[in-house]
């Protein structure tokens, strides 16, 4: 994308839309396209019930992708998502087994465990300068090991606390599932954090050039640490929601969330090497992936076909707008 091309494009689009990131616009365009394509297959795809149901399913991925985005903006990556999600869910369920106090503390305890794993990641990446791709892989293995030892290799018997179930499946506002509400709160907080706080701006600065950020007085190590703690905590929150939704935790419940969360962030126009991206894009990416998975399963395409189309669509969309500048 050369300078000429972008200035040409600016001439054609109305002033109101000039601030819109082309990646985010494309992602939302693809969502509409998907819905239209789905509605040709069955008119149910445009019904409010179906859309709300999709939003509810998307909220789990949305919460997890929010944490992933903070880390990707730094130019790092968090591969410990699968077992942080599972640990969060299992620990929250485990706390529930300890009477009333336990069940009150279940949700904070689950999130705390996730944040603790995130803290290990952050310390290693920020202070020991270990590449995030390796250390998060190792903490993932350790978290898995801890959970396997704790559960004895079986799905734990503890079930989710009523509060967790309420958080995932209840309705505080009629018609709006609580899961979506949680995602909304997390999302609003993320938007505020990314655009209105020094922490958020520092994330972008470090992602662009950590050396320059350090020279301009940002405590880059503290910011990196915080980003990983946030990612861990949000992954665990995602796990807590999932456990509430299924009313129990299970082994490998988090496996299905690592790659989609990275894909959602990147499809939303966030640069995978950091420093560029908006939360709106991540929202678009999350909805896009959830819709794609849902439409493929509604069309009763077999798992094999679903995976094929899923992979091809991600590559196709990235080719549309995720390309790097030519060397």
């Amino acid at each position: 994308m050369s300078e000429d091309a972008s200035s040409m494009r600016q001439l054609r689009i109305p002033t109101r839309l000039r601030g819109v990131d082309p990646a985010v616009a494309t992602a939302f365009g693809c969502i509409i396209l998907l819905l239209l394509a789905g509605s040709i297959y069955s008119p149910n795809f445009l019904s409010p019930d179906y859309l709300l149901q999709q939003l509810k399913v998307a909220s789990f991925l949305g919460v997890i992708a929010t944490g992933m985005m903070a880390v990707i903006l730094l130019g790092q990556i968090d591969l410990s998502v699968p077992w942080v999600v599972t640990s969060g869910a299992m620990m929250a369920c485990a706390a529930t087994a300890y009477g009333t106090t336990g069940s009150v503390l279940a949700i904070p305890f689950g999130i705390f465990c996730g944040a603790a794993i995130g803290l290990v990641n952050g310390l290693a990446v920020a202070y020991l300068r270990i590449p995030s791709m390796i250390i998060t892989l190792a903490t993932n293995a350790v978290a898995q090991g801890l959970m396997v030892v704790y559960t004895g290799g079986f799905s734990p018997q503890d079930s989710a606390s009523p509060a967790m179930r309420f958080l995932a499946t209840g309705y505080t506002i009629p018609g709006l599932p609580n899961g979506v509400l949680v995602w909304l709160c997390v999302g609003l907080a993320a938007v505020f954090m990314l655009t209105r706080t020094t922490f958020g701006r520092s994330l972008y600065a470090i992602g662009n050039r950590e050396r320059a950020a350090y020279m301009s007085g940002i405590d880059t190590r503290r910011i990196t640490l915080l980003a990983f703690v946030i990612s861990g905590g949000l992954s665990a929150l995602g796990g807590v929601l999932l456990a509430g939704y299924a009313s129990k935790a299970s082994q490998s419940m988090g496996d299905a969330y690592l790659l989609p969360s990275i894909a959602a962030v990147v499809l939303g126009g966030t640069h995978v090497l950091g420093g560029k991206g908006s939360y709106l894009g991540t929202v678009a990416g999350v909805i896009l992936i959830t819709l794609l998975q849902s439409i493929l399963s509604v069309m009763q395409i077999e798992e094999a076909g679903r995976q094929l189309i899923y992979g091809a669509v991600i590559i196709g969309m990235l080719l549309l707008y995720g390309r790097q500048k030519p060397a």
């Binding site: 270990i130 293995a141 995720g322």
Partner: protein, 331 residues
């Protein structure tokens, strides 16, 4: 003259430090393993250990080739699974049919690697995301081939490749050595291979020096696919079936990264060798097996493996204490 030789030696040492560390780690771990094994150092123990470890060693070599160019291949495990499924259809029947089947499986792996390379180089996508997406495609293809586990393999061939040569040397180890000699040594010594290293350490500089940047990257990805395919063939030889197992594909990908790191290959690119990666894989597998000889509950295995992995990584950051200027943190 003497000075020259010692300089050469120091250069060689600096180049091979990671590989030597991995080899030492493996020898130490394996000695510990064998000395505590009830059967002791017998051909059978070595055969079982080497059969288990070669699978990971092939995928680790595949990962290593790509990592040297500063890329990453998150689809390596899925290529292995896909080739396992393909082999369970094709590597059967008469010797001729079996032979054709093996060639087709290897070509399929090469094709998968090439697809990765083409998308990354000409589509200009980030390797992490692009290979995540292609791994979904490969898994989909594997599921198409084997919706349920099944199939078979030419058992004579399978037994030949997993047995002991002359009753002593495990055949899998010989094959591993042959693959290193046939694929890695020519690659690392060719102009393309040197270009792959150059691309890994400074892509712009390599481009400016008129090195075949694109060809080097494409070769690395394609050979990576081929090596994963050999791994897939071997998986079929052990299991006699094909299975599109999502979890095991992902595990191979993640373990291959771990093995590469243990083997002293820098994830930033341009440093390390496939021999190191192979030793990393062997060491990683031996660590997993250590628990059994010490009579621990198998439940502790994942935790133990994770902790050892973490410690091995921790050793890598000792260099940090030598940094004189804080700005060197941000390379």
């Amino acid at each position: 003259m003497n000075k020259h030789a010692s300089g050469d030696r120091r250069f060689w040492y600096a180049q091979q430090k990671g590989t030597l560390f991995a080899a030492l780690l493996f020898v130490a771990m394996f000695a510990l393993y064998v000395s505590n094994h009830p059967a002791g150092f017998t051909p059978n123990v070595v055969q079982t250990a080497s059969n288990k470890a070669t699978l990971l060693a092939f995928v680790a070599m595949a990962q290593c080739l790509v990592v040297i160019t500063a890329g990453i291949d998150l689809s390596a495990g899925m290529v292995l699974v896909l080739c396992n499924c393909l082999a369970s259809w094709l590597v059967v029947g008469t010797p001729l049919q079996t032979g054709v089947g093996v060639v087709v499986v290897l070509l399929a792996g090469l094709g998968c690697g090439m697809l990765n390379g083409l998308i990354i180089i000409f589509g200009r996508l980030q390797p992490i995301v692009a290979t995540i997406a292609t791994s979904a495609i490969f898994y989909g293809l594997a599921l198409l081939l084997r919706p349920t586990p099944g199939g078979s393999v030419n058992e004579d061939l399978a037994d030949a490749f997993t047995s002991k040569l002359l009753g002593v040397v495990p055949a899998s180890l010989v094959v591993l050595l042959a693959v290193i000699v046939v694929i890695w040594v020519p690659f690392s010594r060719s102009a393309i291979g040197r270009a792959a290293y150059a691309v890994g350490s400074a892509e712009n500089a390599a481009y400016m020096s008129a090195m075949p940047v694109k060809r080097a990257k494409l070769t690395a990805y394609a050979l990576g696919g081929l090596l994963s395919a050999i791994g897939g063939l071997y998986l079929t030889f052990f299991s006699y079936t094909g299975e599109a197992a999502f979890a095991s594909g992902n595990a191979y990908t993640l373990y291959s990264i771990a093995a590469v790191v243990l083997g002293g290959v820098s994830l930033a690119g341009g440093r390390g060798s496939a021999v190191g990666a192979v030793f990393g894989a062997l060491a990683f597998r031996t660590i997993g097996d250590l628990l059994f000889v010490f009579d621990f509950d198998p439940l502790w295995q994942p935790l133990f493996q994770g902790v050892v992995l973490m410690l091995a990584i921790g050793i890598g950051c000792i260099g940090l204490s030598r940094v004189r200027n804080r700005l060197e943190w941000f390379q």
